[in-house]
């Protein structure tokens, strides 16, 4: 488009780092906190070298104390700082649910609007790295169930940058789920300040026959599946959810009204995962009358993530699973 800022190819991790670099440079109130985010650069090297540019006073290594670290971020946000707290793995947020859910999410409400809690929690998430059951969870649905929180899940480097900067601009607590398998993926990223509005989904591919809703690492798998399906004469529309709370209702419903068929693809445990919410949201809407087939959920297995690589891959949706399920769903069509 004309007037669009120039872009370069960056990795997902580099795009996140660029967003933090911009924020740190723009405003002295921004601080990064987390375990080994300084000289080590973070477990996934996302904050690499930022400590050398901004100093250990603003890129702060914390002790291994997730409840304390997440809570310090709340107190700092209440009193003038804009913290970005990195959980080394989103699994470790299980130690900090108290501060995230009881404090960060509820303080503004409990105090009748007297405060805001402007902070960001960074949540490296998902399986596929052989790290087994305690380092591979997809917990976004928990936080999507909590009023007071906003939850995003980028699938591209550009959105990673845009959503992280938007999260930081937002006066309320935002969790950004970063899939570990995406950190090294590359894509065009706008230079300079670039934000993506929280709560907005993006249609990645137009289609007629069925709607595939996905987020995070599942978006690329859905797109590859859509390509394969096109070869079979099935036209799949692919929606990148991007935001888990709030969900972009309009974009999803409009697509379902058009295609009449819906499949939600997600890595988290199927039961009570985001696919449940999207299915229910459609089933209670006027789009229900446009449905030509049951709503399909392709979610993770009802098990922890196993270590063995074959089992690990079998525990979450893969491209072939998407193609197969979409083919069945489209059944009537071709």
């Amino acid at each position: 488009m004309d007037g669009a800022p120039p872009t370069r190819d960056l990795s997902f991790a580099e795009a996140l780092r660029e967003a933090m670099d911009i924020a740190l440079a723009e405003d002295d109130r921004v601080v990064l906190m987390g375990e080994d985010i300084g000289v080590y650069g973070g477990a996934f090297q996302v904050t690499l070298d930022l400590v050398h540019k901004y100093g250990a006073e603003r890129v702060i290594d914390t002790p291994i104390s997730e409840l304390g670290g997440a809570g310090v971020a709340v107190g700092a946000a209440l009193t003038g700082l804009w913290p970005i707290y990195e959980f080394q793995f989103s699994d470790f947020s299980t130690l900090a649910m108290e501060q995230i859910v009881n404090q960060a999410a509820k303080l503004r409400y409990m105090l009748g609007g007297a405060v805001s809690v402007p902070l960001v929690y960074r949540m490296p998430t998902g399986s596929g790295t052989g790290a087994a059951a305690q380092h591979s969870q997809s917990l976004e649905a928990w936080f999507g169930h909590v009023p007071g929180l906003k939850v995003v899940q980028p699938s591209t480097p550009a959105d990673a940058k845009g959503l992280l900067l938007a999260a930081l601009d937002d006066p309320d607590p935002v969790l950004i789920f970063e899939h570990k398998l995406l950190y090294k993926t590359k894509g065009a990223v706008p230079e300079g300040r670039h934000t993506v509005a929280l709560g907005t989904a993006e249609t990645r591919r137009e289609g007629r026959d069925l709607t595939l809703v996905a987020s995070g690492v599942m978006v690329d798998r859905a797109l590859e599946a859509a390509e394969a399906l096109a070869g079979e004469g099935v036209s799949a529309e692919v929606i990148d959810l991007r935001s888990i709370r709030p969900i972009d209702r309009d974009t999803v419903l409009a697509s379902v009204r058009k295609t009449g068929r819906l499949m939600v693809i997600y890595e988290a445990v199927k039961t009570l995962g985001i696919g449940a919410e999207i299915s229910a949201m459609v089933a209670e809407s006027d789009a229900f009358d446009f449905l030509d087939a049951p709503i399909v959920r392709l979610g993770g297995a009802e098990s922890p993530i196993p270590y063995n690589p074959t089992l690990e891959a079998a525990a979450v949706p893969q491209i072939a699973d998407i193609v197969r399920a979409a083919r069945d769903l489209a059944g009537g069509v071709v």
């Binding site: 109130r29 603003r58 809570g71 107190g75 105090l111 009748g112």
Partner: protein, 334 residues
């Protein structure tokens, strides 16, 4: 007694002017009578939910806050009425909150357990035992980063000292040398559980050594002793020497909450501590040292009675929140 040798003159008498001391006594009366008023209204079914009274603990609340400015912060607890008043809150708006009114500090959303007065520096009571500790440390981080010179007084109970949040919070505050004063109000019980049963160390102040900070145990029913300890610790914090832990030995004369049948403590113990009530001690000290006369004390008490009556009236005649406003103030920006 004008001819008392200086070393026997209590710190408070030496350190504060008559106006400050009078304000302190007045606040202690205000806390006592506020809670008696709240208790009565609660018993008459005018206030719902639950309520934790600090009757008998007024000296630690007022002693800890007397040296603070509005720029200084406190984090409070479920037993936080005294802290809130000591930090300068208006009892009318506090009562209004208990009655669930729109004029309350939390517009009726929070109630007793979330009473706050952010403008005066009270970041709020907390329904989670230990929940305020990491938040106080975060406030300390802001003060240090932004160079405000403010200190944060973090109130918590003896029961809270066995929460992980205590350990993580004190350790972080110490390694980062933050201006936080941790005030543990040790009233011998966490609900029904005595410190002997809950805590593996005789004096909670001794736990300070595990965090490389000074720890001091003082008579929490002695206004002067608490004030002296907190003034010293606050000075330490303001000069960048880091946090301190102060244990104020006190006692709650009432049960833990309404549901408490006092099965876990004896009538004798309650009577013995009631005999050590901090209010007469404070009044007596001011009279003994010629700060106030008996008559002036009686006058203050009468003023406080009038203020409480007016506050109750304000609360009861205030408007209720709009029932349609359930989801307001969940987010700052929707």
């Amino acid at each position: 007694m004008p001819d008392t040798p200086p070393e026997q003159v209590p710190f408070a008498i030496r350190h504060y002017d008559a106006q400050t001391l009078t304000r302190a006594l007045r606040q202690m009366f205000l806390i006592r009578k506020f809670e008696e008023g709240a208790e009565a209204a609660y018993m008459r079914g005018l206030i719902h939910g639950t309520m934790h009274l600090s009757i008998g603990q007024e000296a630690s609340a007022v002693g800890a806050c007397i040296g603070l400015s509005a720029a200084d912060k406190i984090t409070s607890t479920h037993r936080g009425h005294g802290h809130c008043i000591a930090k300068g809150a208006d009892v009318a708006r506090m009562f209004a909150e208990f009655f669930g009114k729109e004029t309350g500090y939390c517009r009726g959303r929070g109630g007793s357990m979330h009473i706050a007065d952010v403008d005066a520096g009270n970041l709020g009571a907390n329904g989670i035992v230990g929940g305020g500790i990491p938040i106080a440390v975060g406030a300390g981080l802001s003060a240090k980063r932004l160079g405000t010179g403010a200190v944060t007084v973090c109130f918590f109970g003896d029961g809270a000292n066995n929460e992980g949040a205590f350990h993580e919070g004190l350790n972080i505050a110490s390694v980062w040398k933050l201006p936080v004063v941790f005030v543990c109000e040790n009233n011998k019980y966490g609900m029904s559980t005595s410190t002997e049963k809950s805590t593996a160390v005789a004096s909670i102040a001794d736990r300070a050594a595990a965090y490389g900070m000074p720890g001091l145990s003082v008579d929490g029913n002695d206004f002067s002793a608490v004030a002296e300890a907190v003034e010293d610790a606050a000075a330490r914090g303001r000069t960048g020497e880091g946090p301190s832990l102060i244990e104020a030995m006190t006692y709650r004369q009432r049960g833990h909450s309404r549901s408490d049948r006092n099965r876990y403590r004896t009538k004798e113990e309650i009577e013995a501590w009631t005999a050590r009530d901090p209010l007469p001690r404070m009044a007596g000290m001011l009279i003994d040292h010629g700060v106030l006369t008996e008559a002036q004390v009686a006058e203050i008490e009468a003023e406080v009675d009038a203020e409480i009556a007016a506050a109750l009236d304000f609360a009861q005649t205030s408007p209720d929140p709009d029932p349609a406003a359930v989801t307001r103030d969940v987010y700052t920006v929707v």
